[in-house]
């Protein structure tokens, strides 16, 4: 007959082994948390810099325009190169499921700045922003861009929640917040008056606020995943 002490020792060891193995088997968010953090921080810093330059009245000067308009995209491109190199490493060891997760995050993070760049360049192809009809077109582009940003944040949060399995309250709160902002802005997009005053006033203020909120959300998500790693 087995000694009860041996049985207890063996049971404790097996449980410890199960716990340790499960810990090692979680998805590795270290790399992704860095990407979220850098992406959010750089884009947010770009927005703050744009605001400071705007207050100082030098935003539309040649260097100011370049810094505000295109420097964040250079950073995002460098981040994309880093992401791409890391993804090549993952192909060798990760499952198709986790690779698909990385791909979704990659599309969400890097396709949107690219789309945003296209939208900002589109202004050059819609001449005469003093005309009401053209302001209407640019306004719609601004709104679509913001809606895509919010949608992307929502998708990122949902996929992170799925991958984490034990969905924490913070993520649920962030998902609800982005969903609320998306619905709120959708209502605003459907009913806003397409006038020049409204476009240069409330519309730009709202889209800027929402974009900054999304960048902040990525910073929070990156920080949360980093802290979670050390728990």
């Amino acid at each position: 007959m087995t000694d009860p002490k041996d049985t207890l020792k063996s049971a404790t060891e097996d449980l410890a082994l199960i716990r340790n193995t499960m810990d090692r088997s979680r998805y590795h968010f270290d790399f992704l948390s860095t990407v979220f953090l850098i992406y959010g921080a750089v884009m947010l810093a770009g927005e703050i810099l744009a605001h400071i330059l705007s207050v100082c009245g030098v935003r539309d000067n040649a260097p100011g325009f370049f810094i505000v308009g295109y420097l964040p995209y250079v950073f995002v491109f460098l981040l994309f190169v880093f992401y791409f190199v890391m993804r090549r490493k993952f192909i060798k060891s990760e499952t198709l499921y986790s690779l698909h997760l990385y791909d979704v995050w990659g599309v969400v993070l890097f396709f949107l700045p690219f789309l945003s760049l296209c939208f900002s360049l589109s202004r050059f192809f819609v001449p005469g922003t003093e005309k009401v009809e053209n302001v209407g077109v640019i306004g719609i582009l601004f709104c679509i861009k913001t809606l895509l940003f919010l949608f992307a944040a929502l998708i990122t949060l949902l996929f992170t929640a799925i991958a984490l399995r034990d969905t924490p309250l913070l993520l649920i709160a962030l998902i609800c917040l982005s969903l609320f902002l998306f619905v709120l802005f959708w209502g605003f997009f459907v009913g806003y008056p397409r006038t020049i005053d409204f476009f240069y006033g409330e519309l730009i203020t709202r889209t800027q606020f929402l974009e900054r909120a999304v960048y902040l959300l990525y910073v929070v998500l990156g920080l949360y995943l980093k802290i979670r790693k050390y728990k």
Binding site: T7, T12, D14, L15, L17, T21, M22
Partner: protein, 97 residues
């Protein structure tokens, strides 16, 4: 599951590690190798045994033109694993009474 009838699948540390890892979601052979620290031969043999006993399902696909073996748990394997963890918890609970 009773103490006197613990299945063979849970009586080796490596097999238990493989089952614990796969409980967290499907894993590739390379991932399991990294997690368990086992050699290719040993890990392959244990996975084969667990597959024969109906605990695991192995699927061979291609990723970036390279062969990729993915291992996932069957409903029977999940149920047995749950029962085994419950048994371990029961043993510890009774011993600390």
């Amino acid at each position: 599951m009773e103490l006197s009838s613990i299945p063979d699948a849970f009586q080796s540390a490596l097999r238990l590690s493989v089952l614990s890892a796969v409980m967290m979601g499907e894993k590739s052979f390379r991932e399991l190798k990294r997690i368990t620290g086992a050699t290719d031969g040993n890990l392959g043999a244990q996975i084969r045994k667990l597959e024969e006993q109906g605990y695991l399902v192995c699927e061979k696909t291609f990723s970036a033109r390279k062969p990729l073996t993915t291992v996932s748990l069957t409903p029977f394997g999940r149920e047995q694993f749950r029962e085994y963890v419950e048994l371990l918890e029961r043993i510890i609970k009774e011993a600390t009474k």
